[in-house]
Symmetry: C2
Subunit: 191 residues, 2 copies
DNA sequence: ATTATCTATAGATCTATAGATAATGC
DNA sequence: ATTATCTATAGATCTATAGATAATGC
């Protein structure tokens, strides 16, 4: 058995859990987390609701597993966030409406009281803004051509990405998400 | 009885309905629409759940009434959307986290399948983008100083407003929403 | 022997309907 | 007479626990 296989070898149990997490992603896209029933997820993987709870003891444990799939949310690693890569990310997102819908539904719910994803998103945005600022600094230095500091441009960059996703999910025909995002990058980069 | 009073006179029933809509706004902010139970709304206005259903026959009728409070969502009338007024709107929003939380929770849920607010938001964004473009055209003509056409700048403006709201709701200490929005307007207006 | 899955079920909800009673408006 | 509100309740869910049975791994 080659090393590669050994490294990625998954037990039956791990396979099952991965299947379940995938199904959960789908059901959350369709109904949100609060609206996602364990029975609906179970049915999608051919289990009873009680069979599903053998793999994840509570509904919240399922959500934690979903949020833990960081590569789904942050398709690009740490410091590599140059402008061209951001455009590539937005173009990639425009090809996977399901994931973006899951993300957007969870983000929306997360602002409600006591939502189990709230801390996750709060931390995530702190991190993402910091990474963005770092990337912008690497590309432009202390001032962008537009005159903004990297720290002030970062939340705008993130806001445009998220805000465009909602407009696009609601009306994909009317909103060219990648083109709009490129327009925004032009604004940031022009002086 | 002066005319003014006659015009705004409300029957007991209208008063009650308005109270109920207010309470619904609050409960949606706390739990989203799917998580908002009729019982929770009823309790807040001192009614039983069945008593509430006398005023609104179904849960969805309640949501329709909430979405109908257009002045809550669009605090500024039609064509008056000049830049200063937009800043004023964002500053106003920063003072009413409850309403923004209701709006953001509903927007997030609305992208899920068959959500009763979906059509509302789809239409609303079409309208809002058109109004924004119109306002930008009135202020700048066919090209903004940044070189964008009003039609291309409009979705970015809306995206920034919505995206900043999520970041701000999740972490108000870290995000100065009005300042960030002003930064964005500077980007748009500078050449 | 351990892991996976199932049946049975408790105990909370939830929305909505039916019909009785209390309050209000002419 | 009409409107507002209540009690009672149907009928669906929902999450989670308990415990039995089947499948798998050493």
């Amino acid at each position: 058995m080659p090393y590669g296989d050994a490294m990625t070898a998954r037990t039956r149990s791990e396979e099952r859990r991965a299947e379940i997490v995938r199904a959960t992603l789908e059901v959350i896209a369709e109904r949100g987390y609060r609206g996602a029933s364990l029975a609906a997820v179970a049915e999608r993987v051919g289990l009873t609701q009680q069979g599903l709870l053998h793999h994840f003891p509570t509904k919240e444990a399922l959500l934690v597993a979903v949020l833990g799939e960081r590569d789904q949310w942050d398709a690009l690693p740490g410091t590599e966030w140059r402008a061209e890569l951001l455009v590539a990310l937005v173009e990639y997102n425009a090809m996977r409406p399901g994931i973006i819908q899951t993300f957007s539904a969870l983000l929306g719910e997360s602002v409600t009281e006591g939502h189990p994803a709230r801390a996750f998103f709060t931390r995530r945005y702190t991190t993402v803004r910091a990474h963005m600022a770092e990337a912008l600094r690497a590309e432009y230095g202390e001032r962008l051509p537009s005159g903004l500091t990297p720290e002030r441009a970062a939340p705008l960059l993130v806001a445009v990405m998220d805000g465009l996703q909602y407009q696009w999910l609601l009306d994909p025909e009317s909103v060219d998400m990648p083109a709009a995002f490129r327009d925004f990058l032009t604004l940031l980069g022009e002086d």
